[in-house]
Symmetry: C2
Subunit: 576 residues, 2 copies
């Protein structure tokens, strides 16, 4: 209902809109927009059809012969429904949803389904509110799945604890499509009441529940699916994907910045299986956002690897809409949203024009300007005020006891258990690793050692530290570590590189310590400069100085992690 | 929520049910039922898979290896999801939903979607209430689409007039899936506010709108679909079906007692198109219900005609569930309802076992007994008290003016316009045809003449007279017509055959004048006996004496119809 609108007025408004759509479909009135002589993907008959596509009030009303004062010659390219990213954490882009939209609209993305897991671990429900506000009214629909695991584990000291009752009201929001990836699959399989209640909650609202269960198989997978988990985006082997698909889960083929599962899962894009398959990125970092593309990139790659273009395009559009019950998306037919893209051909998938709800939002290499969403000021204030910790001194980081040492393994997220170390030792590449609680001024600092990072001087700190996003820092001496932590604190969150007591390049992430308020290009430049600084201080080639750090506090990946309470042995589920 | 259950108790009950499902899926506890070593249809991977199927609390919880105290050896047959009839008017069976369920469960039907259009034209909202009550708790799910056209046309004097506000509350009923066939496609295309508001109403509840638009094509079809009509079951040519499918409508292939569209539409059951296709019967008369089967019959016929069995089975199960958003139906996978059937093979499709919500309801040729639904007595009273008309005398039917004459055309529903006749004339096969208003004691009687029916003596009357279900009668003299009408009136509705002032065989249809309270076998016997009587009085071979009559008052089929207000010229939209 519009503001101040009565029920009768609402019905009347909708009636008049529909009557106009009917008249335009009949050809009695001119359409708002017509794509003339389009060669368009018909997702129902699995073929390309030719005709004018008429649009009225943001909806497609007919294909055939139509006229409009705004006609777009579509005779040369191929018209498809807009692309849908079925699963992403928008925070991973380090920019606001507005900046993210600016980056991906030229790649034909008209809908993303985000899980605001990161910001919610910092700000709780306020984090969901913030992302909803920050993504409202964009020329790209941002739908939400509600974070299912805040905190991610009992070991986490996060900014909030959300039970099923606290997320329940959010399911009524028109942009919320369900419960986000149920990472606590162990909990579900062990009949954990809290996890299952969240699933029940989403089901009670007739909404979806996404899964996250790498490698889960057999009876345990049956149990997880029987509990009500409808999809998975963590398949990296074809066998596991096929088992999940056969057992009824929709499969999101993930091809993002970190994970690349398309090649392994390509056989899913066959007539036998593809109708249960869609695409997701999970995360897109700034540099990756600026080159290569988004869902268009996945389609291009899939077809280059041999997939049928129609199947790949349906996975990128129609199938995600069906899974999420977005009933008016993902097809070119009367009554569907006019979220349309024009691509040049079925090899390049170069996006030439993007139409969102019947408006041309990208054409001739230019994105039409669109306003930044209006975020209520209390929410804005809260978002830039999430660093709740006292300044740290070198003394706070001193320790006389030997502490457990994590061993980095090149190109892996897992770490090795290297026993105990008495102190840092640059010669042997033993660095001090700290996690400083930053949500509630508890003063908690967990300390351990790290081997394999390579730093020879200074320190690095970041407030992106999965999933609680405390401040994680690594360095050669306590003073520089303290300086780096304090630099992050002072910026209101971000990434800092420090040497000899002086801050080098840093990247402020003032929104919840996760997101910059700056343009993507600027963020990328700052990030790359900070990365160079870290490398110049000794970080080994092949190691991303910040991303590597950001996973070292996630107490679900074996063998060792550092939390605010010390070094945690994941397999033994105990502190060392 | 169960009666007297608090919210907390409800959550706890659901939690415990789900925890038990998880434990059984894990194999930690025995299942309620296991189909051992089943060869089952996997609708996701489009193949047959082998394994045990475990059921707990009515839901499938896993496939693999499972045990139970109730194990069913399924190694010999093929296990499929239960069949779904996507569109039927249950009233057409002339028996109660309970009797209908008894007839079709042995054929593997576990779900039907009914449109109580007939009874609602008689009883209004009470008709919907009655059918909801009469179909509650059966071992076959009866879902509802709300009648969209009551009365069917402005010419109809029906028992009720329902606008969008009156049906609105019914969309909240858990068994209501949307708005039934929008027969007034002319109204929709002409932007009729009342029709479009009903569509808006169903959309506001996120429910479906079925279509009914025989032959509609081009811009008018675009308009109808753009207005929000998502399916069609009136396709009798492949071209029309393909146009509707390409434009986004789901196609219900209709193969019932009256209409046989499967053969013409068989090419839809190909990999290119089948995912948007399902099966429906629309109507099933008693004799047809007693032989031949139901949806199993359509599958059998489709495969005999050359369709791929997997595609035919998916059209009969999975696809209808997807269209109607019955998210836990139409597949064999964890979390889905255990609505399962065992068929003998992929040629006969002979149903050997039927499992509804995890309970064996049909096996070894026997249907497990199930109770008749409890219908609240005021509703029951109203249903058997729908004949509101004074007794008719021969004088009431007298007329001195010439009246228009309808010409029957063999094997067609349309009639010809045979001009005017001064009186009935057996020699020339001119009979008197009357429609007597029976809902509101108006005393309205519409009179015309009929050629081609063949009656040589006596009269026939029936209270099944589409769509208003007044009493339609035909006869050689006014006295016998009056007797037949009065016989119908006296039975509380039904079909009567009369000769020389004496009632021959008749079929009482005491529930709303449409449905018998007797067993199917008995109804069929009575109906056939009455039919024989009518034939013995002269009705021509090839003419169904009652069905033919029942369409002669439907003022949408050209050229002429008789309503309570006289003979109506459909094309000219005027009374003669």
């Amino acid at each position: 209902m519009l503001p101040n609108e009565t029920h009768v007025e609402k019905v009347q408004r909708k009636l008049e809109k529909k009557q106009r759509a009917v008249r335009i479909a009949l050809g009695l009135e001119k359409a708002d927009l017509v794509l003339k002589n389009a060669n368009y993907l018909n997702v129902f008959s699995n073929e390309f059809c030719r005709g004018d596509i008429a649009v009225a009030d943001g909806l497609i009303v007919g294909m055939g012969e139509y006229t409009s004062d705004t006609e777009l010659d579509a005779s040369q390219g191929i018209v498809c429904p807009g692309f849908i990213d079925a699963h992403i954490h928008l925070e991973s882009s380090l920019v606001t949803p507005w900046e993210f939209a600016r980056a991906v609209i030229p790649h034909g993305t008209t809908t993303v389904i985000t899980d605001p897991h990161e910001i919610t671990n910092v700000m709780g429900l306020q984090g969901i509110d913030y992302m909803l506000a920050a993504s409202a009214g964009l020329p790209m629909d941002v739908h939400f799945m509600l974070p299912s695991c805040v905190p991610a584990t009992p070991q986490d000291e996060s900014g909030a604890e959300l039970d099923y009752r606290s997320i329940d009201p959010y399911f009524d929001h028109p942009r919320v499509l369900g419960l986000a990836e149920m990472m606590n699959y162990v909990g579900v399989v062990n009949q954990d009441a809290q996890s299952i209640r969240k699933i029940l909650c989403s089901q009670a609202h007739h909404k979806k529940i996404d899964g996250h269960a790498p490698g889960l198989t057999g009876h345990a997978l049956n149990a997880y699916i029987a509990a009500g988990v409808y999809s998975d985006h963590e398949c990296f082997t074809l066998d596991n994907a096929l088992e999940k698909l056969r057992k009824g889960q929709f499969i999101m083929i993930r091809e993002g910045t970190a994970a690349h599962n398309l090649e392994a899962l390509l056989p899913l894009l066959s007539p036998q299986f593809y109708s249960r398959v869609m695409f997701a990125t999970d995360d897109k970092h700034p540099s990756d956002l600026m080159r290569g593309g988004h869902i268009d990139h996945i389609v291009r790659k899939a077809v280059a690897l041999g997939a049928d273009p129609i199947l790949a395009l349906k996975a990128a559009t129609h199938n995600a809409a069906r899974y999420f019950l977005m009933n008016n998306k993902g097809a070119i037919a009367p009554g569907y949203l006019a979220d349309l893209i024009v691509i040049n051909n079925l090899q390049d998938f170069h996006v030439e024009t993007v139409i969102k709800k019947g408006k041309i939002v990208y054409a001739d290499g230019q994105t039409a300007p669109f306003p930044k969403p209006d975020i209520p000021s209390p929410l804005r204030e809260d978002a830039i005020n999430t660093m709740h910790l006292p300044a740290v001194t070198a003394d706070d980081l001193q320790t006389s006891r030997p502490l457990a040492c994590l061993g980095l393994i090149p190109r892996e997220l897992i770490t090795s258990d290297l026993g105990f170390e008495p102190h840092a030792d640059i010669q042997r590449d033993i660095l001090k690793l700290c996690v400083v609680e930053r949500h509630r001024n508890t003063g908690h600092i967990g300390i351990g050692y790290l081997h394999g990072y390579g730093l020879k001087q200074g320190a690095v700190a970041t407030s992106i530290a999965h999933d609680s996003h405390n401040i994680i820092a690594v360095g050669v001496d306590d003073a520089d570590i303290a300086t780096a932590v304090n630099q992050v604190r002072q910026m209101g969150g971000g990434i800092a590189v420090v040497c000899g007591g002086k801050a080098l390049h840093s990247l402020p992430l003032s929104i919840a310590g996760l997101i910059s308020d700056q343009p993507l290009e600027h963020v990328n430049m700052q990030l790359e400069a900070a990365k160079s600084d870290a490398v110049s201080l000794g970080v080994k080639p092949g190691i991303d100085p910040f991303m590597t750090l950001s996973f070292l506090s996630l107490p679900v990946i074996p063998a060792l992690r550092v939390t605010t309470r010390g070094v945690f042995h994941v397999e033994r589920q105990e502190y060392l």
